[in-house]
């Protein structure tokens, strides 16, 4: 299993209104790794994820997925390997039932109904939402909707899953449940979050982004123990690391 690597080389990105959201960002993520992308609001996390999934393209620099450069002409092919879980589940869920929503992707990929059903069942099982199949998504709690959003992506069996603020709006129990789901996945995971506890619980490495550049990177939980670094970038040390 070596599909699922990401390489970002000297990427800068300007929004059409001139806002420079990323400047000279380089990073690499190995297949199967779980990495947290942390940083304060406005650091450029969402922008970076949109670049990794081919929703936006860099102003300069290159993004490579499995060694292949992500460009408008290759993004259709590469997108099959990358799943993006949006920050707001309401952007992601739109079919009348959870089952249909999770089946949406596999059906678009052209699989037969038997394979679609297998994938839907596996994805719903993986996020513990098997009992919700017949429910309409807009009637679920935030936690359930987030789990189903993740299932819609897992049903495509991507080699990389990218999540934007997966812990937002969840209560502590919901966050623990989510952490367990994320830990059990074997694909490459990259999640943008300012919830450092969730990062520590699910990832072995973190990349700290601020003002559109990578300011630090290192193994977890050690990186977050650096109080001066955390303070300098407006982050709070996770509760699990506060001893005194």
């Amino acid at each position: 299993m070596n599909a699922g690597s990401i390489e970002v080389v000297a990427v800068s990105f300007d929004y059409p209104d001139g806002t420079r959201a990323l400047r000279d960002v380089s990073l690499s993520i190995r297949a199967g790794e779980a990495v947290a992308l942390v940083g304060p609001n406005g650091a450029g996390k969402t922008t970076l994820l949109l670049l990794l999934t081919g929703c936006l393209f860099p102003t300069s620099g290159t993004v490579r997925v499995d060694g292949m450069e992500l460009r408008p002409d290759t993004c259709t092919e590469l997108r099959r390997r990358i799943g993006f879980v949006f920050q707001d589940p309401d952007d992601q869920l739109f079919m009348p039932t959870v089952w249909d929503d999770v089946a949406f992707g596999p059906r678009n990929l052209g699989y037969g109904e038997a394979e679609v059903a297998r994938r839907v069942r596996a994805a719903l099982d993986a996020v513990g939402a098997a009992g919700l199949a017949e429910r309409p998504p807009y009637r679920l709690s935030v936690g359930q909707r987030r789990a189903v959003s993740l299932a819609t992506v897992l049903a495509m069996e991507p080699s990389i899953v990218v999540l934007d603020e997966p812990g937002a709006g969840l209560d502590p129990r919901g966050r623990r449940a989510l952490a367990r789901i994320l830990l059990d996945l074997s694909c490459t995971r990259l999640m943008a979050t300012h919830d450092l506890d969730l990062a520590v619980a699910t990832c072995r490495r973190a990349i700290l982004l601020d003002g559109g550049t990578v300011v630090a990177e290192g193994p977890l939980p050690d990186l977050f123990a650096d109080e001066a670094l955390m303070d300098a970038h407006g982050l709070e040390r996770p509760a699990s690391l506060r001893h005194h």
Binding site: R79, G83, F86, D88, D100, N108, P136, Y138, V142, T152
Partner: protein, 272 residues
Amino acid sequence: MSQCTSNLWSAALHADDLARRDTWLHRLDPRTHVTITVAYLLAVLSLPLHDLSRLILLAAYPIWTALAGGVPFAYLARRVAIAAPWIVLVAVSWIWLDRRPLVPGHPWPTAGCLAAASLLARLALTVAAASLLLALTGLSGLTSGLLGMRVPPLCVAQLWILHRYALVLSDEAARLLRARALRSAGRRLTWRQAGTLLGQLCVRAFDRAERVHRAMEMRGFDGHSLRAFEICTRRLRATDLAYASAMILWILWARFGDGAAGLGRRLMQLAP
């Protein structure tokens, strides 16, 4: 906040909830409902503008269907109200343009009034019929039915995306109005505020639509194929054929027969 969003959703998606009901009408094939609805819309829209009596007779269809399908009249009324402003505009201009007296010697009501009333009634009936179709089949039933009837997938996809965007728009509008209401301390909405809100609505709905489209694209939706939707390939049952023929015969009778004239005569007899 999430509670509030999910309420908005449920209000917007009311039709899909209704489509989940289990009445004998709901159990009919979506294609049956599509066929009847198309016949009905043709009948209503092809009526001469001044033929109010046939229009009144044709109103029996939505009433009957709503009763049999357990669709609340409030749902239909809301849908009609959403579409109303545009037609009211046209209707008012009609009254303005056509001021010939209807009965010689009396300046009021004018021919324009009759035409305007007829236009409004038509609007109510067509919107009600289309909403009933959605309430009986649901959006996925409707798409699968249309695809089963060999409607080009591109057209069906357009319809589907249009519906999705309409939901996004109404959802965004409800959020904005609620956010304003919570901080307005009970003051009335001014024209100026309404203008600002409308501008905001456009920008936000556009942003949101873009995110939704992105999410669909990320999951392999290319806007052309509708592989994600089941295509109705079941064979039509005898009950479908029977109900469709009965309804279409009735619609033909109401549109072309003299039922309306008979109704009119009886009404005249009742009048002193």
